[in-house]
Symmetry: C3
Subunit: 162 residues, 3 copies
C-alpha cells in the first residue's frame, strides 16, 4: 500500500538524484512526440539521448578507451536524460510503463558486454519508476555514434494524458 | 477458406518445427510489453533476441567468421525465439500482424548482404503466420553485438487481446 | 491561415521536387504497415529506406569514401523515399506527424557527425510537411549497411485514416 504511494519524485529524493535539465535537441529534431492511443493514454517517443555531463559529451569506445564500469555510469547518465525528457514533456508521475529501450554502446570490434553496460540504465529506470520502469530492450554495439558518445539510448513509454 | 482455418500451430507442425522455450532475458529487462490500442488489440513489443541454440550463443561475424548461409540459419533461430516469446506472452493465435522487425547482423567491414541474412527470418515468419507475418523491416550491420552473437532481432506486433 | 492551406504537394512543387517512385522492398518484407489507434488515426511503420538514385544504390562510408556533404545529400534522398512510401501507402495529405526517425550512417571508425548528415533528412521533412514533419530521432553510425548504402532511414508516422 505504502509502496504504491511512493512517487517517482520521492524515489529520486531517496536515491539522492537531482534530474539534470532536459538537454535540448542537438540538431533538426524534437526530443519527444506524444501519440494518443485512447483511454487517456499516449505513447511517448523519446529521441536518442547521448552520454553527457552538462554540456560535455562523454565520448570514447568501450572497452579500449572507456572501461565497462565507466561506460555503465554513462549509460546511467543517458537514463537520467530520458527521465528528464519525460519529466519535461509530461511529468514523471504520468508514466504507466517504459515500453522499449533502444541502447547503443560505442564498441571496439569484438566487444560483447553491451548488456552489462545497458543494465546500469535499465536498473535506474526500475529504481525510479518501480515496476513501471521494466522495459523491453534492444542492446547493440556500434563503431560510430554522434560526437563519439560512449552511449546513446532512445525510448518509447506509455503515459497517462487524461 | 481452408487456408484461413490453418493456425500458426498447424503450420509449425507441417514445417516440423517445435518452438524452443522462450529464452529468459539476459539482463535487467523483460522480454515483452503489451500496449492496448483499442478495439481489443494491443501492440506487443518484443526485446532483441540473439542467435542461440539452447543455452549456447551462436557468435561470430559475417562473412569472415560465419558464412552467409550459416548466418541466415541463425537469423531463422532468432525468428523462432521471437515466435516463442509471442507464444509465451499472448499465444501465436492472437497475432494480427508483425508490424516491424529490427534486425542486426554482426558484420565485417564492407559486408552488405544483411538483407539476404535477414530474409531467412522474414520468410519463416510468413511461413508460420501467413499474410499476418509480413512486416516492415530495418536491416542493419554492426561491428559489435551482445555476447558477439551473429544476429539479433527485435520486433513489434499487433495482437488480439479481447 | 494561408500557411494551413498549403499542402505537402504544394510545398513539393514550390521546392521543385518530384517524388521518386516508391522503391519496392529489396527482399522478403513490405514497405509499410498501418496500425489503427482510434479516432480515425493510425501508426504508419515504414521500412528502412537506403540511399539510392533510381535503381542504383549510393554506397560508401563517411567521411573516408563519401564526404559529409555528399552523405547529407544521400540522407535527403532517403527522406524523399520515405515521403514516396507514405504517398504510395496513404497519401501525404493524411500525415498528422512524423513520430520517429531511425537513421543509420555508414561510418568510418571514429566518425561522429551523423547528426549533421541526418539533418538533411530532418530538414526536408519539415520543409515538405511543416510542423507535422518535426520528429524524434535516433541517429547512429555503423560499419556495415545493406548493399553498403551510405545512409538508411526508417520511420514511424501518425496518419489520418477516417
Amino acid at each position: 500500500m505504502l509502496a504504491r504511494l511512493t512517487t517517482p519524485h520521492d524515489r529520486l529524493r531517496e536515491l539522492g538524484i537531482t534530474l539534470p535539465p532536459a538537454p535540448p535537441p542537438a540538431a533538426s529534431y524534437v526530443q519527444t512526440r506524444l501519440v494518443s492511443i485512447g483511454d487517456g493514454r499516449a505513447l511517448l517517443y523519446i529521441a536518442g539521448q547521448i552520454s553527457r555531463e552538462g554540456e560535455r559529451v562523454l565520448s570514447g569506445s568501450c572497452p579500449d578507451e572507456v572501461s565497462v564500469e565507466e561506460a555503465s555510469r554513462r549509460a546511467r547518465q543517458c537514463a537520467l536524460s530520458l527521465l528528464s525528457q519525460i519529466e519535461s514533456a509530461v511529468g514523471l508521475d504520468t508514466v504507466v510503463e517504459i515500453t522499449q529501450l533502444i541502447g547503443l554502446v560505442l564498441s571496439a570490434d569484438g566487444f560483447g558486454d553491451q548488456p552489462k553496460v545497458m543494465n546500469a540504465a535499465s536498473d535506474l529506470l526500475v529504481e525510479v519508476l518501480g515496476a513501471a520502469g521494466k522495459h523491453t530492450r534492444v542492446a547493440v554495439g556500434t563503431n560510430a555514434l554522434p560526437f563519439s558518445a560512449t552511449v546513446e539510448i532512445a525510448a518509447v513509454a506509455v503515459v497517462r494524458t487524461g
